[in-house]
Each structure stands twice: as structure tokens, then as C-alpha cells.
Point group: C2
Chain length 345, copies 2
């Protein structure tokens, strides 16, 4: 005699009643429910998830898909970890099991997702590193799997998403640099088709245009979103004939490599070139200090989780007015890296 049956026998009531009592169904005497709960605690009874899953067709698991591997390491990590932490706290409230699904860089994200779904692994998913055109979204929509994304996509299937205000960042940064006299401004973007790259570069271009300037295609640097990418950008930039006087770094970790690249050439941010980037726990320790954008990733994670739950029938009533789509403004932390004032031409 095991599981719920044992509990029922011990209490001398039927397993149906025990199940109802534990699941908070209304049609059970409060007195009985109390007895059941006590006995469950006493006997250390924990419902078998396989049994529940089989019967209900749900797994109680929410998966947070991230990428990992050589190309990404340094990026994937710190940012998503912090967001994850926020997500975690929300799902814990509902006794949902949140796990991280790390797609190795060796594997195609689409294939990976297909496997996860075919396996019926999770009741809901959170996707990150949203591509400009992202087949994963259509795939999930077709399968009617609840999901939310961290990042917008042109592939819009009506899912909830949260994103950072890349437009705002580009605009603010460009305005700021132009105000300081810069005319030749470089920007970076990820090496792949992550949507934020497009958004960022487009907005930078139009912000420049508003000042009567244009974005030199030669000054758009592509790189992996990690330190190595930043280093490589610095090397490329330094090899240019007509060197820019300022640069906008879209990813966080690249600032670290970029600094290093400059320093090897005897250059210093804020003296020889103006740098505006984005902050992570690491970048706060750069020297000279980085001027960059920052926000609470944990809060972002919380909002992301709530947005997802709001679209899941079983939980939606908990979040009647969750924001399903929101762009999070980042705050500019002023540092020394853009102190550079262009000498009058």
C-alpha cells in the first residue's frame, strides 16, 4: 500500500476524498481536510508527480530556455541568471517547478526546442535570445504551448513579451554623444540575428539622422556578445583609417574586452574615445568607470513570469492585470568612459 492509498487507509476514508482535500476542492468538509493535511504532513506524503501528470496531462514544470556554450559564455550567464532569479520567486509561489533548459551552442535551438516539446516536458516556456524572425515562436503557437519571450520579434504570434528599451538607449546615448560634439559614432550589434541588434542599430541611425548625421555602415561592428567579442571590436576599430570618436556597446560583457583592446593600444576610454555601454555586475568594476545603462533584472524576471502565468488558464486569475507586453526603461549610470570632449574641429 503506497501513496495516496496508504494515506486514505490510515485515515479510514476514501482516496477520492484525500485527493480532493489535498487539492483544495470545495466539496470536502473542512474538518476532514484538516485531518488529511495533518496526516499527510505526519506521514510525509508527497503526491507522485508522474501519476498526476499522467492523469492531468500537465507536468508542473516551467522551462526557461537559454543558450550556452563557447560563443556565448560571458553573456548568457550573468544576465539570464539574474532574470531567472526573479522568475523563480514567482513560480515558487505556485509550487511550479522551474528549470533552466540550457541549449548548448553545439545544438540548433530550434531542434532543441522541438525535442523539449515533443517530450511534453513543460507546461509553459520562457524563451530568451529572441531572433528577429524566430521560427520557435510559430512552432510553439501552433502547438498551443503557453510561452513568453524575453525580447520582441518580428514573428509575432500574440505571445506575451518583455523587452528592454533599446530604442531609448540608442536615442539617449546618441543625443548625449552628439551634444558632446561627436560626429563619427560607432555602434555594435550581436553576431547573430537576435532582434535587439536590429532595433538598436536602426534607432541609432535615425537618432543620428535627426541631428543631420548618418550612421556609417563601416562603423557597425558585429561580434559575439561576450568579452572576446568586445576585444575583437576594439582591434577592428583601431585598424580603421578614419577612427570614430565614440562608440555605443549594445551588449554588456563586451565592454570588458573592449577596454582591454584599447588599453593594449595605449588608449583609454573617456580620454581617447567616448564609450557608452550597458552595465552588469562586472562592468561596475571597469576602470575608468563605464557610462552605461542599467536596470533591475530581477524585477524583469518577476514581470516575465507573471506575464506568462497570466496567459495560462490555470493561473490567469491570479494575475488579472499583468502587463503582457512591456518595454523596460534602463537608467543611465554616468561614469568616466564618455567624459571625452571632442576638441573643436
Amino acid at each position: 500500500m503506497t501513496g495516496i492509498r496508504r494515506l486514505a487507509q490510515h485515515l479510514d476514508i476514501s482516496i477520492g476524498t484525500v485527493s480532493r482535500a489535498l487539492n483544495g476542492r470545495p466539496d470536502v468538509n473542512e474538518e476532514t481536510r484538516k485531518r488529511v493535511l495533518e496526516a499527510a504532513a505526519e506521514l510525509g506524503y508527497v503526491p507522485n508527480q508522474s501519476g498526476r501528470s499522467l492523469r492531468q496531462g500537465t507536468t508542473n514544470i516551467i522551462g526557461f530556455m537559454m543558450q550556452t556554450g563557447a560563443e556565448i559564455t560571458g553573456q548568457g550567464d550573468t544576465f539570464f541568471m539574474s532574470v531567472f532569479d526573479g522568475v523563480q520567486t514567482v513560480f515558487a509561489r505556485h509550487r511550479l517547478d522551474l528549470v533552466a533548459l540550457l541549449c548548448s551552442s553545439q545544438e540548433d535551438p530550434d531542434d532543441y526546442l522541438r525535442r523539449v516539446v515533443a517530450r511534453g516536458f513543460a507546461d509553459g516556456l520562457i524563451l530568451s535570445a529572441t531572433q528577429r524572425h524566430d521560427p520557435r515562436l510559430e512552432f510553439l503557437a501552433k502547438r498551443k504551448i503557453p510561452f513568453a519571450t524575453l525580447g520582441r520579434s518580428l514573428t509575432d504570434v500574440g505571445q506575451p513579451w518583455l523587452d528592454l528599451d533599446f530604442e531609448g538607449m540608442a536615442q539617449t546615448a546618441i543625443d548625449r554623444l552628439v551634444a558632446k560634439g561627436h560626429r563619427r559614432i560607432a555602434v555594435t550589434r550581436p553576431h547573430d540575428d537576435v532582434n535587439l541588434g536590429y532595433i538598436f542599430v536602426d534607432q541609432a541611425a535615425s537618432a543620428l539622422a535627426a541631428h543631420g548625421l548618418s550612421l556609417d555602415p563601416d562603423l557597425v561592428f558585429r561580434s559575439t556578445p561576450n568579452e572576446a567579442g568586445g576585444y575583437q571590436i576594439a582591434r577592428e576599430l583601431l585598424s580603421k583609417k578614419d577612427r570614430p570618436t565614440a562608440i555605443l556597446l549594445v551588449n554588456e560583457s563586451i565592454a570588458i574586452g573592449f577596454y582591454r583592446g584599447l588599453s593594449e593600444a595605449g588608449l583609454k576610454p573617456g580620454r581617447d574615445i567616448a564609450v557608452i555601454g550597458r552595465h552588469s555586475p562586472q562592468t561596475h568594476f571597469l576602470s575608468p568607470s563605464l557610462t552605461g545603462f542599467e536596470l533591475s533584472r530581477r524585477d524583469l524576471g518577476i514581470a516575465l513570469a507573471e506575464a506568462l502565468l497570466a496567459t495560462m488558464p490555470a493561473f490567469s486569475h491570479f494575475y488579472p492585470n499583468a502587463e503582457l507586453r512591456k518595454i523596460w526603461r534602463e537608467e543611465l549610470i554616468e561614469g568616466e568612459s564618455d567624459a571625452f570632449l571632442l576638441p573643436p574641429a
Copy 2:
């Protein structure tokens, strides 16, 4: 009609045979097996994991437990991610589902683990951040859950573990610094009871003793294993009356904060103080370049996964001679940060 039953009906054979065919049982005609496999592919049949789990009492999931959250972020991340990548490739071979279980800093790791186990979540576990005395190990051993740890512990319950050669690192680094004339050498250790801290400090002490020197307790700095911790160490160190001339950093990320702390005081590693640390993707971009230890984390992950599988009855025959306990040597990458030569006293 769904699932295996549908497949059986389509083939006009019994579900038992279908199951046996799919699971590679010997007592099924190879011809039949071929037909089943083809039909399964054609109809896109994927066995329902809940059904299997319920029947077999296994979940097909392996969990990799890591810590996350404010205190850790910066550390947890890059190191474990890379290891995870290696682990992933091994488990994928066996069609096991590997997930990351991220224990938030807000939660007690013991409690978290208890929940995971009570829930019957995984068939096997990998634990990281092993404490000097780690109740989690005894807990898992009692429950007879297969697991392996990344890091030794005094709590030895016979589980497989892999670890880094902290003794070797301490020894090599001390010898090297002493040879350069240093007498007053500081070391760091994590703020909590992670075992590696004890190992590292003990070995550093005995390495110093071999040179007729002793480790000043006042020069053992505790900190969180992230950039902020390194920064704090720098501040503390600089406030000392009798400042050390060299320091050994046990964690990777702290070098970044430490550099920053020095730089704010106008000091430079390799000129004003000798620094030996450990390398991560980030630290390669420090300037002056860091002298530190490095190894392939991915390979470590592969070995870790194989060690775990070797102790799981269902998989052990795949890894008849896996190394169940191994200490991985790290390689010293020479940089400029310990170029500092002590002037003759």
C-alpha cells in the same frame, strides 16, 4: 485512440510488441522492429514520459544544481555554465534530459534539495558548491539517489566527485611568489563554507611553512566569489598597516573587482603588488594581464557526467572504467600581474 495504442492499431500488432520494439528488447523480430520504428517516425509517435515514469519509477531527468542570486552572480555563472555544456553532451548521448536547478540565494540549498528529492524530480543529480561539511550529501545517500559532486567534501558518503587541484595551485603560486622574493603573501577564500576555501588556505599555509614562512591570519581575506568581493578585498588590503606584497585570489571573478580596487588607489598589479589568480573568459581581458590558472571546464563537465552515469545501474555498463574521483590540474598562464619583483630588503 492515442499513443502507443494508436501505433499498435495502425500496425495491427499488440501494444506490448510495439513497446518492446521501441525499447530495444531482444524478443522481437527484427523485421517487426523495423516496421514499428518506421511507423513511429511516420506518425511522429513519442512515448509519453508520464506513462513511462509512472510505470518505471524513473523520470529520465538529471538535475544539475547550482546556486544563483545577488551574492553569487558573477561566479555561479560562467564557470558552471561551461561545465554544464560538457555535462550536456554526455547526457544527450543517452537521451537523458538534463536541466539546471538553480537555487536562488533567497532559499536554503538544503531545503531546495529536499523539495527536489521529495518531488522525485530526477533520477540523478549533480551538486556544485560543495561545502566542507555538506548535509546534502548525507541526505542524498540516505535516499539512495545517485549523484556526483563538483568539489570534495569532508562529508564523504562514497559518491563520485571531481575537483580542481587547489593544493597544486596554492603550492605552485606560493613557490613562485617566494622565489620572487615575497615574504608577506595574502590569500583569499570564499565567504561561506565551500570546501575549496579550506583546502586552498591550508595548502598555502603549509607551502609557506616549507619556506620557513607563515601565513598571517590577518592576511586571509574572505569575500563573496564575485567582482564585488574582489573590490572589497582590495579596499581591506589597502587599509592594512603592513601591506602584503603579493596576493593569491582563489576565485576567478574577484580578480576583476580587485583590479578595480587597486586602480582607484593608483596601484597597478605587477608593479605595486603581485597578483596570481584564476582565469575565466573574462579575466583574459584584464590589463595588466593576469597570471592565473586555467583548465577546460567543458572537459571537466564531460568527466563529471560520466562519473555519475558510472554509478547508475542502468548506465554503468557504458562507462566500465570511468574515473570516479579525480583532481584536475590547472595550467598556469603567465601574465604581467605578478611581474613585480620585490626590491631587496
